[in-house]
Symmetry: C2
Subunit: 763 residues, 2 copies
């Protein structure tokens, strides 16, 4: 016992066939934190109702206590992706908690209740899980359970391990070889983890009632990482020499009653074979879970990208680095080194400074030899922290707390994070480059505990999964529920009109033309009527001309030429008078009706039009490039022309309450306002919308009706006209309208795709 298989990783790592895969890995993070109120006191509320309350929620769970929120990322193949999910799930957590709560940024809890019985155990559905928590209360007390941290799950890439395996001949079994890799990295991690504690330990001081009696005097680097943290009794000793020894030691601890079950073993590194310890025996080690990570108070999500990068590199280094002969001794030494460092004063130089320097030099050398893609700043920063302890996390937190108090510092950090999440509530952090409706849909999916995988970020392609049920979604509402040809129908305005007409709906009469000549020859058909000339397939109002009083031949000619610039086919249609409404239809129901008003400002008798525009544009709902619910009003040539037509310029000062329109068209994309009128539109028009969508065979559709007077029954002749139908209608404009009620269409889509959600929870 205690003597391990010797594998020459040093040589294998520099093998050319191994090198391309060195930085392939899979990552996952679990991060606990406590919910507090806006003053920084522990929250007294239950886990937010808006989050699906399944015990097995994939992203947001409760830990020991009802107020301990655990954020769990999916497994990712890059650190970038890992941090995107971490950010996104935090956004969901924040906004699900509501505006009266925030997350405590420290591992150490704020002041605890005098009577620890007042720390509420998580109200889980599983009786077994609740009983286990009660057992923990008895064994360790509830106070210590309030410590929070980050668990970093790490798996070497399969291609990497495969390449290493192929580069050796000592071991024949791939599974065993893989296990040896993790065992070596683990032993060395346990030996050298004091280095991580020095840099990133971040629990220098405790608050009221954390310790029953004040056992620790003065600040340290990491209470949580020291023997004062959450550890098993000293009798619990487990060997990492082989997986067999590890497992038999564990089971003997349980037999002896030192542990209630295997999972009660709180090592800074947990070996993982799958969900349960037993899988280790069958499948070997699949990945390891690093548990000695304090919450980084200065990062909104509790851990920095640099820390994660350091950990990956550190593990590669530890695989490369020779270990001590007696491996159990080696691990034990690590614990005592770590305790020393953890209990050093945060501003004190560490006792192991020389060793730390050596390790950093070796790591940097390794980066060079192996040509690893590491951030250039990492080593600069590590050396900086080594030379100046006040730059370490514990050092920084301690120094800042000196000015006021640790609680005040933490509360103010918590507020900043809270503010950041609420600033642009329509965004999903980590995915803000994606289409807005997709971001909101992802938010809702995460909240409801549906697994979200981004299959193609540029293409807005998602895989949603609830248990065994998979749905693919593109652009927020292109789904398996719509049939293909129905979307092709909507893509083709002529076909859409023909079909609607054949089903008895009123559509603008008109003709399609493929050549300018042919269109000109048909002038007599349209000469004296109100008409619209438009390209057949383009969007956003380009190339469209409207003649409400009919067009002269010259106007007609000009309009045709403009439209043909946008498409090979154009449509000339009768112009239908009235107001255009967008009906959002989902499976036989109108969920929202929106009125779009052209870009405008309202005068106050004091400010110029330009000033009014600038002021209106300040609204955080307005931005550009469809990444905000509304677009900024432009002050361009078209706006100028439009003003001129009304006798204004940008520097004119409109009268109080005068409405000045800056655009003819009402598209949101050109600064228009969105106004929800769902409750104002009579049912008979909603029925028309639903029936028309049905005629097109669509399930999810945005259909545009022009209505002259909504008080007139829809059955009246020419009461309405249908302009077009959209198979991928914008949702965000209904969710964040400029005015009127918000309609959470993305949540409807989620429930439509996963009707079983309603059966498993009370919403």
């Amino acid at each position: 016992m205690g003597v391990t298989v010797k594998i020459d990783f040093k040589n294998m790592l520099v093998n050319d066939r191994v090198k391309p895969y060195l930085f392939k890995a899979r990552y996952g993070i679990e991060k606990e934190s406590k919910r507090v109120d806006l003053s920084g006191d522990l929250a007294k509320t239950d886990h937010p109702k808006s989050i699906s309350e399944r015990d097995d929620h994939p992203y947001i769970q409760r830990d020991f206590s009802e107020l301990q929120m655990e954020i769990i990322t999916p497994v990712t193949e890059t650190l970038e992706e890992l941090f995107h999910y971490l950010a996104a799930i935090h956004d969901v957590a924040y906004r699900s908690m509501g505006k009266n709560e925030m997350l405590w940024p420290l591992s150490m809890p704020p002041g605890l209740p005098e009577n620890e019985e007042n720390i509420v155990i998580a109200k889980l559905k599983s009786v077994e899980d609740v009983q286990y928590r009660e057992y923990l209360s008895h064994s360790y007390g509830r106070r210590i359970q309030m410590l929070c941290g980050v668990h970093f799950n790490f798996e070497f890439g399969d291609e990497f391990i495969q390449a290493l395996f192929n580069a050796q001949s000592d071991m024949k079994e791939y599974r065993d070889f893989k296990t040896e890799i993790y065992l070596k990295a683990t032993r060395n991690y346990l030996h050298y983890r004091w280095l991580f504690t020095y840099f990133y330990g971040a629990s220098p001081s405790s608050e009221k009632n954390f310790f029953k009696e004040e056992s620790l005097h003065g600040a340290v680097r990491s209470i949580r990482g020291s023997k004062y943290g959450y550890t098993n009794s000293d009798d619990v000793q487990v060997s990492y020499s082989s997986i067999q020894n590890y497992l038999s030691d564990l089971s003997s601890m349980v037999q002896k009653g030192l542990l209630s079950k295997e999972k009660e073993f709180y090592s800074p590194v947990r070996l993982r074979g799958g969900k349960h310890v037993s899988e280790l025996a069958d499948h070997g080690i699949k990945y390891i879970e690093l548990r000695n990570i304090d919450l980084n108070p200065f990062e909104p999500y509790g851990i920095s990208y640099e820390q994660a990068e350091f950990l990956h590199l550190f593990l590669l280094y530890l695989l490369w680095k020779d270990e001590g002969e007696n491996c159990d001794e080696w691990v034990k030494m690590g614990s005592s080194y770590n305790d020393v460092v953890a209990l050093e004063h945060p501003l004190e130089h560490t006792k192991f400074e020389k060793d730390a320097e050596n390790i950093i030099d070796e790591m940097e050398q390794l980066v060079k030899i192996l040509d690893l893609p590491i951030s250039e700043t990492l080593f600069v920063h590590l050396r900086e922290m080594l030379m100046d302890p006040s730059k370490t996390l514990a050092g920084r937190l301690y120094k800042e707390s000196e000015k006021s108090s640790q609680v005040q510092v933490a509360t103010s950090i918590a507020k900043e994070n809270y503010q950041k999440s609420w600033d642009k509530p329509y965004q999903l952090a980590g995915f803000t480059d994606m289409e807005l409706s997709t971001q909101i849909l992802m938010f809702d999916a995460i909240q409801k505990g549906i697994q979200v995988e981004v299959l193609d970020r540029h293409d807005q392609f998602l895989k949603l999964k609830l248990n065994d049920h998979v749905e693919y979604v593109k652009n927020g509402n292109m789904t398996s529920k719509d049939n293909y040809v129905s979307t092709l129908i909507m893509e083709n305005k002529t076909v859409t009109k023909k079909i609607l007409h054949q089903h008895g709906f009123r559509v603008p009469k008109g003709e399609e033309f493929q050549t300018i000549e042919h269109a000109l020859r048909s002038y007599h058909l349209f000469s004296s009527k109100p008409i619209v000339v438009k390209p057949k397939t383009t969007n956003y109002g380009l190339g469209i001309s409207i003649f409400k009083e009919g067009a002269t031949y010259e106007d007609y000619h000009h309009a045709i030429t403009l439209a043909f610039k946008e498409d090979n086919s154009i449509l000339i249609e009768e112009f239908i008078k009235g107001t255009e409404y967008r009906f959002f239809v989902l499976h036989d129901q109108v969920l929202a009706v929106l009125l779009r008003v052209p870009a405008n400002v309202i005068g106050d008798g004091k400010h110029t039009i330009e000033e009014l525009v600038i002021h209106k544009n300040r609204d955080s709902l307005r931005g550009s490039d469809h990444r905000t619910p509304l677009e900024r009003i432009q002050l361009g040539e078209l706006e100028n022309l439009m003003l001129k037509g009304q006798g204004y310029q940008f520097d004119s000062i409109p009268k109080k309450d005068e409405i000045i329109y800056l655009r003819e068209n009402s598209n949101i994309s050109t600064g228009g306002d969105s106004i929800d009128v769902t409750d104002q539109i009579p049912d008979d028009y909603k029925e028309i919308a639903v029936d028309a969508v049905g005629a097109l065979g669509a399930e999810i559709c945005g259909i545009d009706l022009i209505i002259e007077d909504t008080n007139v029954p829809a059955t009246n002749k020419n009461a309405y006209g249908i302009i077009e139908a959209n198979f991928n209608p914008s949702m965000y404009m209904h969710i964040y309208p400029y005015q009127g009620e918000s309609r959470r269409l993305t949540m409807h889509i989620i429930h439509y795709l996963f009707p079983e959600l309603l059966q498993t929870q009370s919403t």
Copy 2:
């Protein structure tokens, strides 16, 4: 009786609000002809089995006799469309009859059997319909029933009638006004129809056994149009003065036993209110059916576009033209005039030449006044025929027959028409500008009696209808059966691969890149492996580079640059060795497997490569622009380079049986050969294809597998790789392969869309 409502159409027609709609109308044609064998003798076979044998087939039915084929166009809004359908249905009829039969181009039958009982009555399913034909045999004899002709259904455009209605105030009821329009046009048509008989009468002589006794001596203009044609007894007289009189006369004829039922009334113009005479009373006249049209022997479809245009103009003229005071007398006069003209010798000037000249002058004037869009050649041709009777249809047929015999002339014309339909059996006449697979699908739909409406010709958008069941189809196989997101998955190669990989299928490993720089930085991942560099979304092999032995950095750089020219994202993938097969999957079944071979010629030791290419290109299956099943092999720069690589030039003479490849890629679009191997591919690979398509959620899919050796079980590691999946796979290449069995995929699509077809017929 006999005095009609007087409406001043003369003034109304020139009204500016009427003029735009003058040429709006709806048309339909029914055209009978007899099936004959290749010698021109009446066919002895049954109605073709390949045509759905429903009595109510919308396009192809039987008339009186089993060998009388009736071709029925749908109602169209332009004459162009009318003739497209007429051509298409003829193509279907021809190819459904098989290669041993053709259609007789004359109204008069070829030699009839001595015993008329040998003329077989149509074997319809409806007992009533068969009984009616037996009644007709008794009343008129079977010989006369063998006359064939064209019925031209004509309806004035609703906008036209509406505009006329609005331009008057005499009549209050729109329905009655419309009826008056048709009544006037009908009366004048009956009066002046001799003019049509002069120009387009085309039944000058009869053949053996048509007349029981030779009652007619010498040739005439139109036997069918004269009293020797198919007419009621002289006692049958019906007034056209009003719809009430017309109907009461008809019913009194039936009461008197002069007619068995109303539909036995054989007027040259039939008033139509709907399917049954009774609808006339309720709804007034909806359209009229002109029945006095002999088959035009010189037109492959029995009537020329000019004739149809003449008829429309003629009807407008007749509406404009004053009529006689006593309308019954006026109609009667028309019959006697027509009999005179019909029985004139084909080469004789007509007795009414002066009147004809006047009418033509007036018609031409009307065209000018009303600004009608009439072919410039029409009046030239009419005057030519008037001045020279040998230019009329009867004149031409008579003169040609003088050289040999009418039977010989007709047989040779029939053969030409037959040849034309069989020359390019993959085309559908009338729609040859459409995509090839769509043409074939339309063919199959028409054959099976499914109504086909082209919703958008440029967009290959069809509406298919069988009873109340409607299906929309774009590009031949984009249908309601596929769900939308599944097609979006296939459109995105990265997403396709991810999903297939997640389902356990082997796909080429690879990465996606958005920038040249990023791709270059990853060279080390691919440096020593066989790889493919390709754009993410484009097609037809553009921008693809293959490195079977791995790429140097320079090659890699060049390939990346090429790929980025085609798309913003590129894929770099491992190259999978083997042969690429296209599996066409429809709803859990592989219907066809195709091997595509790069453009090639086989040497004969005599001809140059260029000559061999020219010869191979002569195949009627080869053409250009995807309007033929195969494309012509090019002799361009790429082919030249490819030959050079093998030490050849265009004028090299390859050895006998040597295969010379002119292209690296195997796309059909660059002259490749298609080889059906459906029966040669083992079932386990077909299962892989079906399961992979299932994983993508697709119903109709062309999926490309690379297989190194089809004899190796598909379950073997790396036995296959899936390259891509196509949601709109080409069908024509399976239907008309260069080599191997034809797979009629379009018919499978039809049956998939309309499973009820199998229940209503035996296929």
